[in-house]
């Protein structure tokens, strides 16, 4: 086949380019991933008791996860488009992560010395990151699927962004079932779970993001 003939074939009736392709793929993926993780939490752990919502803990978890999902989703959308700039979404992600770490540090300093181990470890420090990672898997599959339909020419970074995005969504789901109340705990173990999901995304991306 002559290349000119192919160009003719591609251009004929092509119409305008589709718009907002990244949002159109990532938003349904995010919705599906978050829905599955909330469903899993409800079935496997049950919702946290309602009075807990009168304390700041679940709101800190949910806002942290939601803000991080926005920033990393933005990053993933950029990485779905060749040569797009990453500065702003990377900066936003870092600001959110550092703010959460600072909040955790302030809470740790405000905690009396003898109460600190309990604030750091809670009663589920070991399970928390793994639960966040497990709950992020549906969103990770969905986010990688979404990116595959775009044009990720930087697969490692795209996988990292997809993993962090999925991790944040998994953490949001986990927040609905997790009874830990310490801010230090959230800053440490939620962040670790989200980072693990990011790492997993980066590891499998070269295989998962072929297009």
């Amino acid at each position: 086949m002559k290349t000119e003939a192919l160009i003719d074939f591609l251009a004929r009736g092509a119409g305008p380019a589709p718009r907002a392709v990244a949002a159109r793929r990532l938003l349904p993926a995010a919705a599906a991933g978050a829905a599955v993780s909330v469903l899993l939490v409800m079935v496997l752990m049950g919702p946290v008791p309602a009075p807990l919502f009168a304390t700041p803990a679940p709101w800190i978890k949910l806002s942290y996860a939601a803000l991080l999902a926005l920033a990393t989703g933005w990053m993933a959308a950029r990485l779905g488009r060749p040569v797009s700039r990453l500065g702003a979404p990377v900066l936003a992600t870092l600001v959110i992560a550092v703010a959460m770490a600072a909040l955790g540090l302030v809470a740790w300093l405000a905690t009396p010395a003898q109460a600190r181990p309990a604030a750091v470890l809670g009663h589920s420090w070991f399970a928390c990151p793994w639960n966040v990672l497990g709950l992020s898997l549906p969103a990770l599959v969905a986010a990688l699927w979404a990116l595959r339909g775009l044009a990720p020419t930087r697969p490692r970074r795209a996988g990292l962004a997809a993993g962090l995005f999925a991790g944040a969504l998994g953490a949001a789901g986990y927040a609905l079932g997790c009874r830990e109340e310490s801010t230090v705990f959230i800053a440490l173990w939620y962040s670790l779970g989200i980072a693990m999901s990011g790492l997993l995304g980066a590891l499998i991306a070269p295989h998962a993001l072929r297009w």
């Binding site: 192919l6 160009i7 009736g13 092509a14 119409g15 305008p16 040569v83 775009l150 930087r154």
Partner: protein, 223 residues
Amino acid sequence: MTTASLPIGLPRTHTPPARRVGCASGTIPAPQPAGHACAMGNEPADELEALVRPLWLRAQAGDESAYRKALSAIAGRLRSYLRRRMQGTPDDVEDLVQETLFALHLQRGTYDPGLPVSAWALAIARHKLADHWRRRGRREDLHQALDDTPESLIASTPASDGGTGDIDRLLDALPEAQRAAILLTKLEGLSVSEAAARARVSESALKVQVHRGLKRLASLLRS
């Protein structure tokens, strides 16, 4: 060794234009586009960009003849880009040009008007080239010495012969709905609404079938 970038031993007078400096186009690409810091986006606008950008923006808005011209101009650049990097397998160059054109078309929604068209297109070409090498298991090609002809002298190579794929033949391998959608819009030249009426599906369903069909064609072309 991606650092061995500039053609050593090249007479000074043959130094490529200044726009190449610091982001050598003669760089041997890494298998993964790890050389991102040296992406083509760092280059100042060049002649191709000046020609293609207005055409491309009109094409994105739906101007078919601008789209055809833009793709032709880009194809010339792709050909010289790929030819330089595929000196061991020159027969595959045109196939890869066509594969990249397919990808540009299928992914044209990912073009961001704030960025150079040529940088966007070459990033996709680089990705397709890395994928090609990975599939062929020809990693050794990455280490082949490159001809030291400045790229400016071989820019925009006309197509000498076609690729080996044949769309008419490949169309038969598509699922019926995709094949029908492509036949109606691409070969009979019907508008989307006419084609949708003929195929008795909604316009959006028809567009989806065309897109999926082209995607399938591109992957058939690859194998």
